[in-house]
Symmetry: C2
Subunit: 218 residues, 2 copies
């Protein structure tokens, strides 16, 4: 996963928009379109056209041609390469409850280069069951199995009280990137990549926007 040959200094915002371009271009391709302009992409995705052109310049090997625009297939291939959608990376999921199950079922992570190879839980009722095609193992085996499977990405979907212990065991097993859905700050070595999904933070941002809109209408 990720294009190791050439790591450009690309902003998080640009990287975050690439999956949306990818989905959109796949739709256009399915609809039979061969070329597309950055203006059309910007309009359909409600983005700024200058921003779209800058984003595409970062990932695209060929510039769009005046009037003709970009080849849809080339752009899809460029995003595939940039985001590493071509080389699928193995991951483990820790926590096979409601959120964990939902993540396993989420709209095909495999299309995004992520292959969940095993799940872990402490609940005897869940151990040895199968969720979304993935077998649930005893969390006591975590470090050992992660090392044996040579997995680089760990997804944490356990209650917050258990998250740090799980993170430590993942790192002990050789994981180098953690996707953390527990609402807690993890203490980790600096050479471990972390992405936190804090639902309370998202909700706070939405609520503030709502308050601003309602206030402006007073």
């Amino acid at each position: 996963m990720g294009n190791n040959q050439e790591i450009k200094n690309v902003s998080k915002a640009t990287i975050g928009r690439l999956p949306a371009y990818h989905r959109y271009l796949k739709e256009r391709q399915a609809a039979g379109e061969m070329t597309i302009s950055s203006t059309a992409i910007a309009e359909d995705l409600h983005l700024n056209a200058v921003q779209v052109r800058k984003d595409l310049a970062v990932i695209s090997s060929v510039a769009g041609k005046p009037k003709l625009g970009f080849e849809v297939e080339d752009l899809i291939e460029d995003i595939n390469k940039f985001l590493g959608y071509d080389n699928v990376t193995d991951a483990v999921l820790v926590g096979a409850g409601g959120l964990g199950s939902a993540l396993v079922g989420y709209d095909g992570f495999r299309n995004y280069g992520l292959n969940i190879v095993a799940a872990f839980d402490t609940d005897p009722m869940l151990i040895d069951t199968v969720i979304g095609g993935i077998k649930v193992f005893d969390a006591q085996e975590l470090s050992k199995l992660v090392r044996r499977l040579n997995v680089l990405i760990g997804i944490i979907a356990v209650p917050r009280g258990a998250a740090q212990k799980v993170a430590d065991e993942l790192v002990e097993g050789g994981v180098r990137a953690i996707w953390n859905f527990a609402p807690v700050h993890l203490s980790l070595p600096t050479n471990i990549a972390v992405k936190n999904e804090d639902m309370a933070a998202s909700l706070a941002i939405l609520s503030k926007r709502l308050a601003e809109i309602l206030y402006s209408e007073k």
Copy 2:
């Protein structure tokens, strides 16, 4: 939800950190601590101390005192007020499948000022069941019930193909803020607040960080 009397121009980043301060301060309070310094908060949450001081200055009515620091209880109260955790806002959830159920069970949204009063689905197997204490209604009733319940926030956890229709019906029912978990860009009037949770975007960011770390070690 939200402090309508006084809408300050506060950055998304600051607002996004407030729930973490809140959780941390509640823990300190439970541990019997009465006062706390911004330096201690910064250290424990692995944040920059200057940033923490700036964040707290935005929401706090009283400045921290040199040497003594902040009163823990006052700070919690200030964040409660700022984020509207005191006045709980009603919300509906559309999509009662895996992700929807997980969201209903997520670590007590009620503590964050969000009260999910009803869920909706199109699946006859789910309609009239109860998930996490919330009744699931027929999605055909969506606009009508949202209007009757006077709900301001709609949470979308349906497959992407259904998301725009659901969003339109929520707006028709009077919803003013949409929390969108479907991986699709919604077309909405500008006076509707939206927060998108795009798992593919998050994963792309994590993968790039991982690639950078692995590359730097070559």
